[in-house]
């Protein structure tokens, strides 16, 4: 028996299918990400899990108990919203205490649990501040503490980092992961950001047009995308059509061939090792730690990522190079 079992979830609004045929199981303490472009149905799915939106079909079990039709108050599910949803008329402490007060716990117990939660999210000193006086990152940490303090069985996070700027996003991401590991909390994280999904998750569920199109670890989803849509969404894959595959590699393939830009190796133009493919640098972009080259090899345009190791090693437009693509890095891919 799995900790969480979701089977046959389906939902539509006025004839439009939001999602359908959603099935997955989670182990206790697992961190999974629902990853997909905006409008793929992932947020609505999360709201259905929380009981805030009713399902059309499906069954939802947690620890064997069927809670498909339970009211949100009785599910034991915590949720963090993209817009924080902090109670503006309450201080940080009062916000965090709200769920405990609903359980009618003694004031002393409430106070000690709130203090613990505030320490957990490192907001000491902000107890009496109102949400309006906090930064975005601090607000989201209050929201996190408020959800955690009632000890939910499952934590749902609905794009919690989208409204924050890049630096805060990275540090809060790490903090969420640390807390989740420490509490061994079963967590579902919704995002449209690939890097977020890759760095956080035990498993990634990729959603596309209302369906889960791939479930797997970060490495698997990134390196073995199930179809073209996943490949396009996950990285900057070079996707070769049948004709391009023939031109570049002399292979006869019906479908598409995917090659990640970071697996292609560059060698000097005078390298005579057999199997190398001659190419010309068309354009280069310094992205920081990585240099991205656009090259042309046998009439096929390819993108190659290299580390930015030494300024002297950077290739200029028009430079000739040799490429090496290992056969095990070629992937046939479903359309």
């Amino acid at each position: 028996m799995s900790f969480v079992e979701v089977s046959g979830f389906a939902k539509s609004y006025g004839g439009n299918t939001v999602f359908e045929d959603i099935n997955f199981v989670l182990a206790r303490g697992e961190f999974v990400t629902l990853l997909g472009p905006s409008g793929c149905g992932k947020s609505t799915l999360l709201r259905c899990l929380a009981g805030l939106v009713s399902l059309d079909a499906g069954q939802f079990r947690v620890e064997g108990e069927d809670i498909t039709y339970a009211v949100p108050q009785k599910r034991g599910i915590g949720m963090v919203f993209q817009s924080y949803a902090l109670f503006p008329n309450m201080t940080v402490s009062q916000n965090i205490a709200f769920g405990l007060k609903m359980q009618k716990l003694a004031a002393k117990v409430v106070a000690s649990k709130v203090a613990e939660a505030i320490e957990l999210v490192e907001l000491g000193g902000k107890e009496r501040a109102y949400p309006a006086a906090l930064s975005g990152g601090q607000r989201q940490r209050v929201a996190l503490a408020r959800s955690l303090v009632v000890e939910p069985r499952i934590l749902l996070l609905d794009e919690p980092l989208s409204a924050l700027d890049a630096r805060i996003r990275r540090s809060l991401r790490q903090q969420i992961l640390d807390i989740q590991r420490r509490l061994d909390l079963t967590t579902i994280f919704v995002t449209h950001d690939q890097e977020e999904a890759l760095t956080l998750s035990d498993r990634i569920f990729v959603m596309d047009r209302g369906r889960i199109v791939q479930q797997g670890s970060a490495e698997t989803v990134y390196t073995r995308p199930a179809n073209e849509a996943v490949a396009r969404f996950m990285g900057n894959y070079n996707l070769l059509g049948p004709q391009e595959s023939r031109l570049l590699l002399g292979l006869d393939i019906d479908g598409h061939l995917a090659i990640r830009p970071e697996v292609i190796r560059l060698f000097a133009a005078d390298d005579v090792t057999p199997g190398l493919i001659p190419a010309t640098v068309m354009h280069s972009q310094l992205l920081g730690n990585v240099v991205r080259y656009q090259v042309e090899a046998k009439g096929v345009a390819l993108q190659i990522d290299c580390l930015n190791r030494r300024a002297a090693d950077l290739l200029s437009d028009g430079n000739r190079v040799m490429l090496h693509i290992a056969p095990e890095d070629l992937q046939e891919i479903a359309p």
Partner: protein, 260 residues
């Protein structure tokens, strides 16, 4: 720069247009005589003391307070839950409510008074002449202000998500309303109550046509005193002005705080 000076001029003109009559009245109310001369004669508080020791004035003041506060109580009980219900359950209804609440603007008091008078003149229930009919009419006057301001307050606080969050933390809908939504409405509610109060307190047409001297309100008293000494009425006007201006200023303060 010439354009800027023109614009600046228009702003000053507006300020003067609004402030001048008030200043004139103030000086008039504090002077013993101001007839054919350019400047007034003698400084006195006589007109103010006369006014504030008049029993009929105090009674009228009391009547106005009763009717206005009664209306505001009724409005609060009816409108606050209605606004919440509309925003939480039927958000699309908000558009229609915004049209509906304009009805009182479309039917001016004289028109509805005449209408009500002809309706009730021959009817079995005789509300005319009692303060009860004012309560009903004043409710329709308060409604647009209160609905609009409360609705604006709710639009800012994302009702659905706050109630959802409260639900997930174990609160029922009424509990979520009391603990989370109502406090957010408090300032908007207070501000709209102040505005409604100063508007209702100054209402004359309904009070005069439907009730008249049978339950004399402040405005009706004021109207009936219009032929008294100009200095006396000026003192009345200034007293009134200071009273409601203080109220309005409080309303502004509250609605400003709300924004920060």
């Amino acid at each position: 720069m010439a354009t800027e000076r023109y614009h600046r001029g228009v702003v000053y003109l507006l300020v003067v247009l609004l402030a001048l009559p008030v200043l004139g009245t103030l000086i008039y109310s504090l002077s013993e005589r101001w007839d054919a001369t350019v400047l007034p004669h003698g400084l006195t508080l006589h007109w103010y003391t006369t006014l504030w020791l008049d029993d009929r004035f105090l009674m009228a003041f009391w009547h106005s307070l009763v009717v206005c506060l009664g209306t505001l109580l009724l409005s609060t009980i009816l409108i606050v839950p209605a606004v919440f219900a509309i925003h939480y359950y039927f958000p699309r209804l908000d558009r229609w409510m915004n049209i509906l609440i304009l009805l009182p603007f479309a039917v001016p008091p004289v028109v509805s008074s005449v209408g009500l008078l002809s309706l009730y003149a021959d009817g079995p229930i005789s509300l005319v002449g009692t303060p009860w009919i004012l309560l009903g009419c004043y409710f329709t006057i308060a409604l647009p202000f209160m609905y609009r301001m409360l609705s604006d307050s709710l639009r800012v606080i994302n009702v659905r998500e706050l109630v959802d969050a409260a639900h997930l933390l174990g609160a029922s809908t009424p509990r979520a309303f009391w603990a989370v939504i109502l406090p957010g409405l408090r300032k908007g509610l207070l501000a709209s109550l102040f505005i409604s109060f100063s508007f209702l307190f100054g209402e004359f047409v309904f009070a005069n046509m439907l009730v008249g001297t049978r339950y004399e309100t402040l405005q009706v008293y004021l109207y009936n005193m219009r032929n008294a000494s100009g200095h006396f009425t000026s003192a009345l006007v200034m007293s009134y002005f200071i009273f409601t201006f203080a109220l309005t200023w409080m309303a502004m303060r509250i609605s400003r705080q709300e924004r920060t």
